[in-house]
């Protein structure tokens, strides 16, 4: 019955090497991103402009750099949170957009802006609270659904909760005083980084960085947490509590980025799949790979969003488009390989 070992020995070393390769590409990508845009003309800004063109200098340092950093944080969070949620819920078909997390964050943020004064701490707190509520609701509803396997139930419950929260956000926008500073519903639904300033980055960092660090540190434990409760318990883990900690970290970071960037979908679904293909399913590598790939993905999409046309393309539009195509390819390839 024992077939020959499929991946050759040294696979681990290769996977780690891939991880570093992705990181290098990322660094290069970030630097290049600072040089592309629509000023002074389409696509490339000559680096010399930094020195003699004041507008270019302001543009790069005050708009592009914070925007790039925000894209990095957004990508790392969505990719990392996606990987975490997939493992914790033992469901490769979820991401924060489908579990009520991102829509909850959008609702909480818009609610805070309109009715609670809109101070940054309030907005982020409200976003995090409703993101957690959204996820809790998805989980509880999934447990009560009577038909289908766990994967299906969670996806269905998540869709219900997400749709409810999205329409609630629309209602807040509709009922809100149009003279107030509430971004369009399209911003919340499709996301965008065109309004990011240094202040926004500084608001996000204190929440996102510690949470990402927590996720990174717990990456091996995540493997254990993806086992059944009984088994995890027998391995000395407190499955409920530890899963809660890691999920809260993932959700809090997601809420922080969604409150600034709107909902950007499909990243958390696709990136972990690709990461697992490249470096294996072990979360010790898959989680950092998801963060790095997520960063790369969002950065690339955001560069296109602000550079390709003479206007801004909503970021979520691009990630959905590319994400859906990738997903199609993934699903079709699975069938061709004939895996059960």
């Amino acid at each position: 019955m024992s077939a020959e070992a499929r991946p050759r020995p040294g696979e681990e070393r290769r996977a780690t090497a891939r991880l570093w390769a992705i990181a290098s590409v990322l660094l290069a990508g970030a630097l290049v991103s600072a040089a592309i845009g629509r000023y002074p003309g389409p696509f490339l800004t000559p680096p010399a402009a930094l020195f003699h063109d004041e507008l270019a200098r302001n543009l790069i340092l005050n708009l592009r750099v914070p925007r790039i950093i925000a894209a990095l944080l957004l990508g790392a969070t969505l990719g990392g949170a996606g990987a975490v949620l997939q493992m914790v819920f033992r469901n490769p078909l979820v991401d924060s957009g489908f579990l009520g997390v991102s829509p909850g964050a959008a609702f909480g943020a818009s609610l805070a802006i309109v009715f609670l004064g809109g101070a940054p701490a309030t907005v982020q707190g409200s976003a995090a609270a409703f993101a957690l509520l959204g996820m809790a609701a998805s989980y509880l509803i999934a447990q009560r659904i009577r038909f289908g396997d766990w994967v299906l139930r969670l996806v269905l419950a998540g869709i219900i909760v997400s749709a409810t929260l999205s329409s609630a956000t629309g209602a807040v926008k509709y009922l809100a005083d149009p003279l107030r500073q509430l971004p369009d519903i399209t911003f919340w639904m499709l996301g965008g980084l065109w309004a990011i300033t240094w202040r926004d980055v500084l608001h996000m960092l204190p929440v996102v960085l510690p949470c990402l660090v927590v996720l990174y540190l717990m990456r091996w434990r995540l493997n254990v947490l993806s086992l059944r409760d009984e088994t995890a318990f027998s391995l000395g883990v407190a499955p409920g509590r530890e899963r809660l900690v890691i999920v809260i970290a993932a959700v809090a970071a997601t809420a922080a980025v969604v409150s600034k960037a709107g909902q950007v979908g499909w990243v958390g679904l696709i990136v972990p799949h690709i990461a697992r293909r490249l470096v294996g399913s072990d979360a010790r590598r898959a989680l950092p790979a998801s963060m790095l790939l997520g960063t790369l993905f969002v950065l690339a999409c955001d560069d296109v969003a602000r550079t390709l046309l003479n206007g801004e393309i909503p970021l979520g539009l691009l990630t959905s488009f590319v994400g859906a195509l990738f997903f199609l390819g993934l699903v079709l390839r699975r069938q061709a390989v004939g895996r059960s």
């Binding site: 020995p9 040294g10 681990e12 070393r13 780690t16 845009g37 629509r38 000023y39 002074p40 003309g41 004041e54 507008l55 200098r57 302001n58 543009l59 340092l61 005050n62 708009l63 592009r64 750099v65 914070p66 950093i69 509709y174 009922l175 005083d177 149009p178 003279l179 107030r180 500073q181 971004p183 065109w194 309004a195 300033t197 240094w198 980055v201 500084l202 960092l205 960085l209 660090v213 990174y216 010790r284 590598r285 602000r306 046309l309 003479n310 206007g311 801004e312």
Partner: protein, 369 residues
Amino acid sequence: MSPSPNISRVVLPALLAALVALAGTVPALASPAKSAPAIRVTDASGRTVELERPPRRIVVAGRGPYMVLDLLYMFPGASRRLVGVEKKGQAASDFVPLVDPTFAEKAVLQSPGPEQIAALHPDLVLARGAVLEATGIALGEIRVPIVYLGLETPEQFYRDVANLGVLLGQPGRAREIASYYRSRVARIRAGWQGVREADRPRVLLVEYAERGGAAAVRVPARPWMQTLEVETAGGRPVWLDSAAPTSGWTVANLEQIARWDPDQIILVVWYTLDPAKVLATLEADPQWRALRAVRTGALHALPSDIYGWDTPDPRWLLGMTWMAKTLHPERFRDLDVAAEVRSFFATLYGMDESAITRDILSKVRLDVR
């Protein structure tokens, strides 16, 4: 086989620390502000904006850019200063080319972010609105001044006119424009002075559109120009009685309208529809015939030229003028609306008689009841 390299314990935290340090120090690298400004205005969002000298490269962006352009072009030499316009909603290319033959050469932007606007090297961005929005904040980060024009009420309009006069270095022209408006508004008000509150007609103004084949009838919000036009022209807006849950257009159904039982109904017909046809359809419709105003022939269509006369566009004066004559015909017997239209475009835009007749009045249907 090998565990994660220990180097990641050092390199990754170092990268993170570098990131945080970068976030803290880079803002300081951006250039500091320059010396004392010569021009200062307080715009519709309450902000104070300062310029060193009158702008030479203006970009119009944001919602309803054609309204801002219609105001801007009342100032001579505006065309020379304008370099780019955002294309959004009803196109400015319908009216402004009549006044400015070089308009086609201006840059057209579509949902621009700050970079696309910056590519035009503007020294002033004009936008309609009362709140500093995201794009405005971003433009602030790269030191491009943005001035908001409210336009929504006559009071705001006068402030906007004054601001533009200061910005463009043409305060005299601004005063001319303001006094043109004020005098006519005063004349309208004086015309129905003395009419008792109870005798003033109860007016319903609705936007009539067809969406997906079904008719949609909506009433405007309380603070909007449509409401103010009706009030200034001596009418009583009936839709203010019921509290509108939204501060935008609110759908009204026929039951509601019947309950209001207005004396006069003014339709703002969606610009793709033919007002004469719409009126004919409604007058033949039994549900509408049940309304007293329709039976007594008090159903009107608000005229328009290229743009509507009911919006925050500077044409609101014309809407108000027509309404005054329609609501109080006996008091405004001497008021010649067509002449007012000629005077408007000649004085404010410098158009000549034949151009007005050909391009403006040809589109105005004053007589569609």
